[in-house]
């Protein structure tokens, strides 16, 4: 039994293995080469020393230029892994991501495509305030042509990052900031998780808890607590937030007849709304209760600790929401 590792180490392994596997894989973003510290939390540490400062590069603080360079290199046959340090900073590069990366395959009639990963970290819990903590996945999920991926454990982080790098479409790969430091079982090196398939983390029969990223672990914790009350909750980790694996969700909710969607992003117009609408359209009449959604409070992520702690749903909120459906 190998020792547990955290997500930083797992992601670092995935990048090492991708660079070793395919010479077209290149990595660039702010501060990520070793002379600049190997990344602000160390995800890319050692890469530029191992693979050279041509394939692994630090960039200026120029988000449009970073994503633009990723798009161009991808069209020309490379597999760039770009980094936008924090998810809020993707707003600075939105034209490149939404108007170009997402659309070039379609607008070129399939002549070009953009196999680029945009790694980006976010999440409340570190006291970083309103411009360094948001989950913005719904923005990207709303744009045809770009995939959104996030993970719930170190081994999932490893497999899904490799799956994203070797996917032929652009991928926003979201890394949870507080979740970086949570240890878990190490990945089986070389095991890739291909995109588009949700993961049933826990089987159950009374309700389906649908979540992703670090929040999936809160759902799992809630499910364990609820089992002591005699409620059997199935927990589904989307893994690929867009496009959503509706086949797995429909099959699960068809069985449990109840569903609760949980995410850290604010609730209005969010991923939960899309899932609830789709499940309601397909399973109306079979459901034992309305589909519920839990999301972050509809405000900027606040700084003060009690406010920040209350912003995102926790296991206790999930448990209460589940009880309200029985």
């Amino acid at each position: 039994m190998s020792e547990n590792i955290n997500c930083i180490a797992a992601l670092n392994m995935a990048l090492h293995d991708a660079l070793e596997t395919d010479p077209t894989v290149i990595v660039f973003g702010e501060d990520l080469a070793d002379p600049e510290g190997g990344g602000v939390v160390g995800v890319t540490r050692g890469l530029s020393s191992a693979f050279g400062d041509q394939r692994v590069r630090s960039t200026p603080i120029s988000e449009q230029a970073i994503i633009g360079a990723g798009i161009g290199a991808a069209i020309a046959g490379m597999r760039p892994v770009t980094e936008i340090m924090l998810m809020n900073f993707t707003a600075v590069a939105m034209d490149m991501i939404v108007n170009h990366a997402a659309k070039l395959r379609f607008m070129s009639g399939g002549q070009t495509h953009v196999p680029m990963v945009i790694r980006t970290m976010t999440g409340s819990g570190m006291g970083n305030g309103g411009q360094h903590s948001d989950y913005l996945e719904a923005w990207f999920a709303h744009s045809a042509g770009i995939k959104v991926v996030t993970y719930s454990s170190p081994s999932e982080a490893y497999g899904l990052l490799l799956g994203s790098i070797f996917d032929d479409d652009p991928v926003i790969f979201i890394e949870n900031l507080p979740g970086y430091f949570v240890p878990g079982a190490p990945p089986v090196r070389g095991t890739v998780i291909s995109l588009g398939h949700a993961n049933i983390m826990r089987a159950g029969s009374d309700i389906t808890l649908i979540s992703y990223g670090a929040m999936a672990n809160q759902a799992l914790l809630a499910a364990e607590n609820l089992s002591r009350e005699g409620i059997s909750a199935e927990v589904v980790d989307l893994r690929t937030v867009a496009p959503i694996d509706f086949a797995t969700l429909l099959s699960s909710v068809d069985k449990t007849r109840r569903a609760l969607v949980v995410h850290e992003a604010v609730r209005p117009f969010g991923v939960g709304a899309e899932i609830a609408a789709e499940l309601s359209e397909k399973l109306h009449g079979q459901l034992k209760s309305p589909i519920r959604r839990l999301g972050g409070a509809f405000c900027a992520v606040p700084f003060s600790k009690p406010l920040e702690s209350a912003h995102a749903p926790k296991a206790a909120d999930i448990e209460a929401a589940v009880r309200s459906l029985f």
């Binding site: 200026p60 988000e63 230029a65 290199a73 490379m78 042509g145 496009p243």
Partner: protein
């Protein structure tokens, strides 16, 4: 004209090169005239940004490029695309929205793509040709394939943040890229000097430590020399160049533009200095070609434009099933992962 040409190649284009530039420029002019006529006659219904007046810039640049070299361009880009060798019929069919268009009718006039000759992105967003050009150039730099990338854009784009980010990154990474600002004096309806501090784009290169050259883009010899200098520099690994090519557009921002924001005297002077008849006279006086040869080139260009129109208008519309294709790729083929053996130094 206020241009500076220190450091520009001393060599001059030979007669064959001049004729090559003219042939490309005439093809652009002929297609533009036929497209505007077809639009006016109601044969095609699309937004159109005429390049009439700007033909010489991409023609004089493209004679230094091969099909392997890349360009990115913008919505006013048909001159750049034709000069680089995109078949006219594929452009026309795309403009007409037909399934035979370069992008199956799914991109339209602002989004021509044709990788066979290196036209990899045509963007409808002002300023977005430059960041992507850097990426194409980065791929060439990493592979050492000797290709150069040309990013075309207008004077309006010099005031967008992406211009500054792109020039800085290209200079920092010494990318084989050439930034070509086609300064046609109007950003949509806004006069260049009124909205561009300093009244000069090429001077901005100095801030990024790269050569910036202002040239009369309507002068085929000057444009050829400046382009040669920049292409040679990029190809030999010396890094990027910013070219500001001064020119004028005769048909406004887009087709239907009444040009009321352009002083009549300025328009009259620009039309009197139309680069195409001047170029024709130059070829005759330099004995690069005789009248009959030039007539042949012009007739062939017009015939090609008419053939392209016929091809486009007789082509089928795309099927509505195209709405579901090319959104995402099919299943990706995942390689066998090689596990990197050196110990990780991550925390």
């Amino acid at each position: 004209m206020n241009t500076k040409t220190e450091g520009v190649a001393e060599s001059l284009p030979d007669k064959a090169s001049l004729l090559d530039i003219y042939t490309r420029a005439v093809l652009i002019k002929a297609n533009d005239e036929r497209i505007r006529a077809a639009a006016r006659a109601g044969k095609m219904n699309m937004i159109y940004y005429s390049p009439r007046g700007q033909e010489i810039i991409p023609s004089a640049i493209s004679v230094h490029l091969t099909n392997a070299d890349y360009i990115t361009t913008i919505y006013r880009g048909i001159h750049d695309q034709l000069a680089k060798g995109v078949p006219a019929k594929l452009i026309w069919a795309e403009y007409a929205g037909r399934s035979t268009g370069s992008c199956k009718g799914k991109g339209g006039p602002m989004h021509i793509t044709y990788p066979d000759v290196g036209v990899l992105v045509t963007t409808g967003i002002v300023g977005s040709s430059m960041p992507i050009a850097n990426g194409l150039a980065l791929a060439s730099q990493l592979r050492g394939d000797g290709r150069v990338t040309v990013a075309y854009f207008g004077d309006g784009a010099a005031n967008i943040g992406a211009f500054h980010e792109s020039l800085n990154l290209a200079a920092v990474w010494k990318l084989p890229v050439i930034f070509v600002c086609q300064n046609n004096r109007y950003a949509e309806h806004s006069q260049f000097e009124k909205f561009t501090a300093g009244g000069n784009v090429s001077n901005r290169a100095a801030g990024f430590g790269m050569p910036g050259i202002r040239v009369d883009g309507n002068d085929p010899v000057a444009m050829w020399r400046v382009a040669k200098t920049a292409v040679d520099r990029a190809r030999s690994g010396e890094g990027p160049t910013l070219i500001e090519a001064l020119t004028f557009r005769f048909h406004g921002h887009l087709l239907g533009d009444d040009g009321s924001y352009i002083p009549p005297a300025e328009m009259a002077a620009a039309r009197a200095a139309d680069p195409m008849p001047r170029f024709r006279t130059l070829l005759l006086t330099q004995h690069a070609a005789d009248e009959a040869a030039l007539r042949d080139i012009e007739l062939a260009a017009d015939r090609a434009a008419l053939d392209a129109q016929e091809f486009a208008l007789s082509s089928p519309w795309p099927r509505t099933s195209e709405l579901q294709t090319d959104v995402f790729g099919g299943p990706s083929s995942i390689p066998t992962i090689k596990v990197f053996s050196r110990p990780s130094v991550a925390p």
